[in-house]
């Protein structure tokens, strides 16, 4: 019985850590409590994942109100996978923030930064763990509101505008989601996701249900930055403080993708999504455009952080491409890509934060000959960059492998060729860093010799190592994703 309470604690501990950090006020105490809370959540998520693997889904009735009347927390193969990713990245970025945030933010605001960080972690974990559609909206807003503020903390004044744009678009997205949930509630009389899935077949072909599907798709797509609804993302990532960018890039859009997948396969069901409405074809088309356009735009950026932001939009395209296949391999690719791209992009943004600390803005002009001045950072970026491309032996390759398998299985050879060919664009934009850092002479604006502080390098290299380890040793990540895919295709969650 005590074990079951872990589901609530997973979210409640970071949620309580936030006001505690505000009350303590001292930045070192706030940092310690934020790090401890994230580490606890990670530990709890690992325990929950192990339990789910061994004994199947766990359900928890919040406040002892039995579902479907009360709010249900539910961990199954898919949500356990996402929980481990989110809390793991949170626990890695928190120690990094000690030096990074201290360098980028005013001293007297630091305790507020850690409070917001905890709130954001709690919101994202809550979105993943909850089994209630409206509760999901509340957590979505907790995560969003805190991330708007975190982005606005950036030093550049353009961070304010980026945060404002994200606030407007994010709120439209969340409101669309609520409209969709409202329509579903009108038709089924329930907010519990599993219960909703059970009742939907009776009203499946009605117009409000189809409208709900459309509203939820558009709303969540705004949140996950599906092309062409990605306009808020590049600026938000580019101007936010380094620790915030790394955390949000590795988790924020990933949790939204989880929500989309959960609704498509866990609530609406494959038949409604793929046969009544042409969602697969729409997703496929948008993913292809996203991959090509965002990768090409990334090529022309003068700033490494913006380049990686556009690359993230392209990588989201690969994930939605996997979802659009709606087959076992396609979904495995989508789910495993959440994890693989999460740690890869997290590693990259953490390392770029180190460059930003030493050189100011991470512009290519300031990175000429960087490999001689910051060898460990440069090497880390190259290794994580290889994973972004999908070179065999890195985590990114695993995703591409399953995407190609899924495409061939569906008889779409051109799609398999497309996945391989677009990886070449990624080679080109990673090459731009190699060219600047390794093949150019140091310029006047290149920083002096000296690495980023160890407190920043260590978490970053942990993720770099992760993106190699999970490429060579795919047992946990791929099997977790396969279980999640089997669960999604098996019908009700």
């Amino acid at each position: 019985m005590t074990f079951a309470h872990l589901l609530a604690l997973e979210v409640v501990v970071p949620l309580i850590a936030a006001p505690l950090a505000v009350l303590l006020r001292r930045s070192s105490a706030a940092w310690a409590i934020a790090t401890a809370a994230c580490a606890f959540s990670f530990f709890a998520a690992l325990l929950l994942a192990a339990e789910v693997w061994a004994n199947g889904p766990i359900s928890y009735a919040l406040g002892s109100w039995d579902p479907p009347w009360g709010i249900e927390y539910r961990v199954d193969a898919l949500s356990a996978f996402v929980l481990v990713l989110v809390s793991g990245v949170a626990a890695t970025v928190a120690p990094y923030a000690w030096r990074s945030a201290a360098a980028e933010l005013p001293r007297e605001q630091l305790y507020l930064f850690y409070a917001l960080y905890c709130l954001c972690v709690a919101g994202l974990l809550g979105m993943t763990i909850t089994g209630d559609a409206f509760n999901l909206f509340v957590f979505m807003e907790i995560a969003s509101l805190s991330s708007y503020v975190l982005i606005a903390l950036g030093r550049d004044r353009r961070a304010l505008l980026a945060s404002y744009q994200y606030l407007v678009l994010g709120t439209i997205g969340a409101t669309f989601y609520v409209i969709g949930v409202g329509l579903l509630y009108l038709m089924t009389g329930t907010l519990n996701l599993a219960d909703m899935a059970a009742r939907l077949p009776q009203v499946q072909e009605t117009r409000p249900v189809l409208a709900a599907l459309a509203f939820i798709t558009v709303g969540v797509s705004l949140k996950l930055a599906l092309f062409p609804l990605h306009l808020w993302l590049p600026n938000a990532y580019a101007y936010a403080p380094s620790a915030v960018t790394a955390f949000l890039a590795a988790t924020g859009t990933k949790v939204s993708i989880y929500v989309l997948v959960r609704f498509y396969f866990g609530v609406f069901g494959l038949r409604l999504v793929t046969e009544t409405l042409p969602m697969r074809e729409i997703l496929l088309a948008l993913s292809i455009v996203a991959i090509v356009t965002a990768s090409l735009v990334a090529l022309w950026q003068t700033d490494l952080k913006r380049l990686l932001a556009y690359s993230s939009v392209a990588q989201i395209g690969y994930t939605t491409l996997g979802i659009s296949m709606a087959s076992k391999d396609g979904l495995t690719a989508a789910v495993v890509h959440l994890f693989n791209h999460g740690i890869t992009t997290g590693a990259l943004f953490l390392l770029v934060g180190g460059i930003a600390l030493r050189a100011g803005r991470p512009e290519f002009e300031r990175m000429r000959g960087l490999a001689r001045r910051m060898p460990l950072t440069s090497l880390g970026i190259v290794i994580a960059g290889l994973s972004l491309i999908g070179i065999p032996g890195t985590a990114g390759f695993v995703t591409k492998w399953y995407l190609v398998l899924g495409a061939i299985e569906a008889g779409r050879w051109w799609l398999a060729a497309f996945v391989v060919l677009t990886s070449l664009i990624a080679v080109a934009y990673v090459w731009r860093f190699v060219e600047a850092a390794y093949l150019s002479e140091p310029g006047a604006r290149t920083p002096e010799r000296g690495e980023a502080p160890a407190a920043m390098l260590a978490p970053a290299w942990l993720l770099v190592a992760g993106s190699v380890v999970f490429g060579l040793h795919t047992g946990y990540s791929v099997e977790g994703a396969q279980r999640a895919a089997a669960l999604l295709l098996g019908g009700a969650p």
Partner: protein, 122 residues
Amino acid sequence: MDAFASHYTYWVTVLLMAAGLYIMIARGNLVKKLVGLSIFQTSVYLLYIAPGKLIGGTAPIVSESFTVYANPLPHVLILTAIVVGIATLALGLAIVVRIREAYGSIEEDEILAADRDGGERA
């Protein structure tokens, strides 16, 4: 006509929703955009609350003398949504204040023009 009269709350909802979205797209003033956002969110409150009202219905009291109940859940949900809406609006306005401090303007085109001229914050 009958369908129109009996579903008029939906028409009001749709009108408010479209008006709010239109303001957000058409206006360049950052505060006016937030007004549009607020109207848009308010329309959703109506979408939830209107179907929860039953003419002649009471609160769900377990007693023989009450037979027609109105569903109280939508009202409770919208109380939560209103709180979220207020928080969003407050945060949005706070960011607009900071934008005004940094750029000296709250007109979108002037701000974008200022950024093109180059822009680290002093």
